[in-house]
Amino acid sequence: MNELKNYKKGNWNYATVERQSDGSLLITTHKEGQVKARKCRVKNLYQSNEEELDVESGKPITKRDKRHSLS
């Protein structure tokens, strides 16, 4: 599942949401029983102009990148 969709679905127990210098939010979620936390970065969360960004670079994820990021 896409990391941002995972946050929105509430499929986690613990979430850390950090405001970044570019105004985006870095969201880290963890569900009990899972080894690794999951991360996503988003601008304008829940807004009509919501945009998912690459966690490291902060650049917008293109549609092609999104297909590859599905897990």
């Binding site: 929105k8 127990n13 613990y14 979430a15 949401v17 950090e18 405001r19 210098s21 969360l45 829940y46």
Partner: protein
């Protein structure tokens, strides 16, 4: 073995592995001592009465667990905690983050806390005033608010109930006279 009484009533002793006895008692006074000795007992009781007197329960078992709802939900993996951090927030500026409760879920918020730290080291020993509030962004109403110097915490004895489709917004405000880092947390359980 049965024993007859002078009034023609009889003592009944039933020995069996599967017994169902539907009983419809219509009387003014009933005394029914029951001694259940079994590995598993399902006891469904539906009491419809104007008044119910004392109910004395004597549980004598190897282990009996009674959990508070919040504790039980943590045990069941329903714990929910959101930490929101905003760095270098200007004096009297606000920041927020949203979480929309998913369909078929209800989020019960049981605690709120926040912490304020100076962004620059030269402001570290000054007052670190700040506040946090939780808002139902969908309904446009504030659930609760909390303020303090350096931070604060509040345990909600009556949990906040957020139903499916409602958005929880946590809003932090830097009320210090300098830039600050503020971290807020709200937590509870979702099921």
């Amino acid at each position: 073995m049965t024993t007859d009484y002078p009034d023609w009533s009889r003592l009944i002793q039933v020995i069996g592995s599967d017994i169902m006895i539907p009983i419809d008692i219509q009387g003014a006074y009933i005394m029914m001592p029951v001694d259940i000795q079994a590995q598993y007992v399902n006891l469904n009781i539906d009491i419809v009465a104007q008044t119910v007197g004392d109910i004395n329960i004597d549980i004598d078992a190897q282990s009996v667990g009674i959990y508070l709802t919040a504790d039980w939900n943590v045990l069941q993996g329903n714990a929910k905690s959101v930490v929101f951090g905003s760095s270098n927030l200007a004096s009297f500026a606000q920041d927020y983050a949203d979480y929309e409760v998913n369909a078929n879920k209800t989020f019960w918020i049981t605690q709120v806390s926040f912490e304020v730290n100076a962004y620059a080291s030269e402001d570290a020993d000054k007052h670190q005033m700040g506040s946090v509030y939780l808002k139902n962004q969908t309904a446009g109403i504030i659930f609760c608010q909390l303020g303090g110097n350096g931070g604060g915490a509040m345990t909600l004895t009556a949990p906040i109930k957020v139903t499916a489709g409602q958005t929880v917004r946590v809003v932090v405000t830097n009320k210090a006279n300098h830039a600050a880092n503020i971290v807020a947390n709200y937590a509870g359980f979702e099921l």
